[in-house]
């Protein structure tokens, strides 16, 4: 798969910044905007934070990236799109891991009572403690699920 082609097919222009963002998201593991911006800058030099947000929005809109937002932390981005998978989030350090959908198709679950809503997606977040934090048993970063410390 070629990023430039993907961008063009989505009707977006191909720029070094976007290519770098796509690459950074793929390399990073559910990175947040700040993290991605840092990676991109390391690759292509100066890129403004706003440009990163803008690109992230465009890429998310074009379904080239997926945005997830676990409660209590900033938005994260991942390159795994097109399938309907869910996430494991660590309550202590905020680490995120993918886990496959139990059912396969969205919405993979049906609520017991829809209250008249037309449901098109079921988002499942599994809260728990990651292996690293289990080992370090104490709170490795104090701040709970807040800001993420890799």
């Amino acid at each position: 798969m070629d990023d430039a082609t993907d961008l063009r097919e989505a009707g977006l222009r191909v720029t070094a910044a976007r290519l770098a963002i796509l690459e950074a998201v793929r390399a990073g593991d559910h990175s947040d905007a700040e993290h991605i911006a840092r990676d991109v800058r390391a690759k292509v030099g100066h890129v403004s934070t706003q440009a990163v947000y803008d690109a992230l929005h465009a890429l998310t809109g074009a379904r080239l990236l997926r945005r997830i937002e676990p409660a209590g932390s900033a938005a994260r981005y991942e390159a795994r799109v097109g399938d309907n998978h869910h996430h494991l989030v660590c309550r202590r350090c905020g680490a995120v891991a993918d886990t496959d959908c139990v059912v396969g198709l969205a919405p993979c679950l049906v609520p017991s009572d829809t209250h008249g809503f037309t449901v098109d997606e079921a988002e499942v977040v599994f809260w728990g403690v990651c292996p690293q934090c289990q080992v370090g048993s104490g709170d490795p970063r104090g701040d709970g699920a807040a800001k993420r410390a890799p």
Copy 2:
């Protein structure tokens, strides 16, 4: 059930503000902090925003309230605690509705691969469109999820 007793049992002091907050959360349907603060002020006169946040934290910590945070909107609070239910969220106006858990006990789902995480809760959010928004097909101006544009 008596709110004052609940507070005392949780080791919290009983104040007019806290009682009003509990009542406001119960009356409102998944209100956010701003909303709750307004209701509380209407009831007991002046209460600072910080006092509201502080009380909301204390009450959430004491399991008298539950905090939910749908992506893209501010934290909401609800008084239904103790059971493991899930939420329906409207993509247009941000309205939130409860739906019972299909299983009953947390975690009601088990991920296909835990990646070593010890999972204690599965949070399920069903995204869709509420009845009002289906009818008005535009944005009805729900009290809203604030910033989520259609």
